[in-house]
Amino acid sequence: QQNFTVVVHGGAGVMSKDKMNNVQQQQYLSKLNEALLLGEKMAKEGSTATDIVVKVINVLEDSPLFNAGKGAVFTHNGKIELDASIMDGESLNAGAVAGARHIRNPITAAREVMQNSDHVLLSGKGASEFARQQGLKMVSNRYFRTPKRHKSLKELKKKERTRNAGDNIG
C-alpha cells in the first residue's frame, strides 16, 4: 500500500456538547466521514493531491452544515460572498477567488485560476466572469442561503443596533 494521507476541517469555533445535540453531532460527523471516504477512495485509485483536495472540499461546500458554499454566512448587505484558495506543493503554483457571489464551488474556481490563468487571485465580478469562461457551474446568490444563517445575520444586526456588537467573529 502506497503512502497517502487526507485531512479535513469544517471550521473551528465556540463549540460545546451542551449546545450541540446528538442529532446535530451525527450530521457533522457523517458529512466529514463522507468527505474522508471520498478522499480515501480517490487516493487509493491514484488521484493527484490537487484533485482530491478539490473533490473533498466540494462535498463540504455542497453541504448546508458548513460556512462554505451552500450554507455560507451573510454579509451586512444580505448577500453571500465566497472565498477559496488552493496551492500545489510540487510546483508552488496557487490560485484563489474572493468575494464571489455566483460560483457554486469556489474551490473549483480557485483551481481553474491556478491551472488556467496567469494570475493567483481573482475577485468579485471578474472571478465570476473567469469561472463562467471556464465552464464552471454558476448559480443565483439565493442558492447559498439557509434560514439558520439568515437568522444569525438578523440577530447580529439587532445587537449592532443596541450597540452591543462584538461577537461577529467568523
Partner: protein
C-alpha cells in the same frame, strides 16, 4: 470555513480552503482563506496547511507559510510547528485552528477554540473524526 490537505501516493502535497467569511461582514472584507501564505500553503519540502478562524490574525501572522517556515528553518515537526504558530495566535488573542500534513504523511489538527470539525484517514487504515476538544 472548510479545508483539506492531502499527501498523495506520488509524494505530492496540496492544500485548499473555502469559506463564506464572517457574518455581517462589510466593505468587501475578506479573511485569510483566499490568501496564499495566510490561510493556505503547500510546499513538498515541508507540509500542506489549511486554516480556519478569525482571518485578520491569520493574515497578520502569515500563519500557513509560517508553519512551513518553522519546519524548514527550525526543524520543528508538523505538530510542533502548528502549536508554535497557535501560541502566536494566542498572544494576539486570535482564535481558530489549523490542519496540516507533512511530506511523510504525519498530521496535525490543532486549535485554540472549544472545538473544530476535523478528521483524517491514511494508508495504514487509521481514521479519526472529531468535533470537540480532548476527543
Amino acid at each position: 470555513t472548510v479545508g483539506c490537505v492531502v499527501l498523495d501516493i506520488y509524494g505530492n502535497l496540496c492544500a485548499g480552503t473555502s469559506t463564506g467569511g464572517m457574518t455581517n461582514k462589510k466593505f468587501g472584507r475578506i479573511g485569510d482563506s483566499p490568501l496564499i501564505g495566510a490561510g493556505t500553503y503547500a510546499n513538498n519540502r515541508t507540509c500542506a496547511v489549511s486554516c480556519t478562524g478569525h482571518g485578520e490574525f491569520f493574515i497578520r501572522l502569515a500563519f500557513a507559510r509560517d508553519v512551513s517556515a518553522l519546519m524548514e528553518y527550525n526543524n520543528l515537526n508538523i505538530v510542533e510547528a502548528c502549536r508554535e504558530e497557535l501560541n502566536k495566535l494566542d498572544e494576539l488573542r486570535g482564535s481558530g485552528g489549523v490542519i496540516g500534513v507533512d511530506n511523510k504523511g504525519n498530521i496535525a489538527m490543532e486549535f485554540n477554540t472549544g472545538g473544530m470539525f476535523r478528521g483524517f484517514v491514511n494508508a495504514k487504515g487509521e481514521k479519526v473524526i472529531a468535533i470537540f476538544k480532548n476527543e
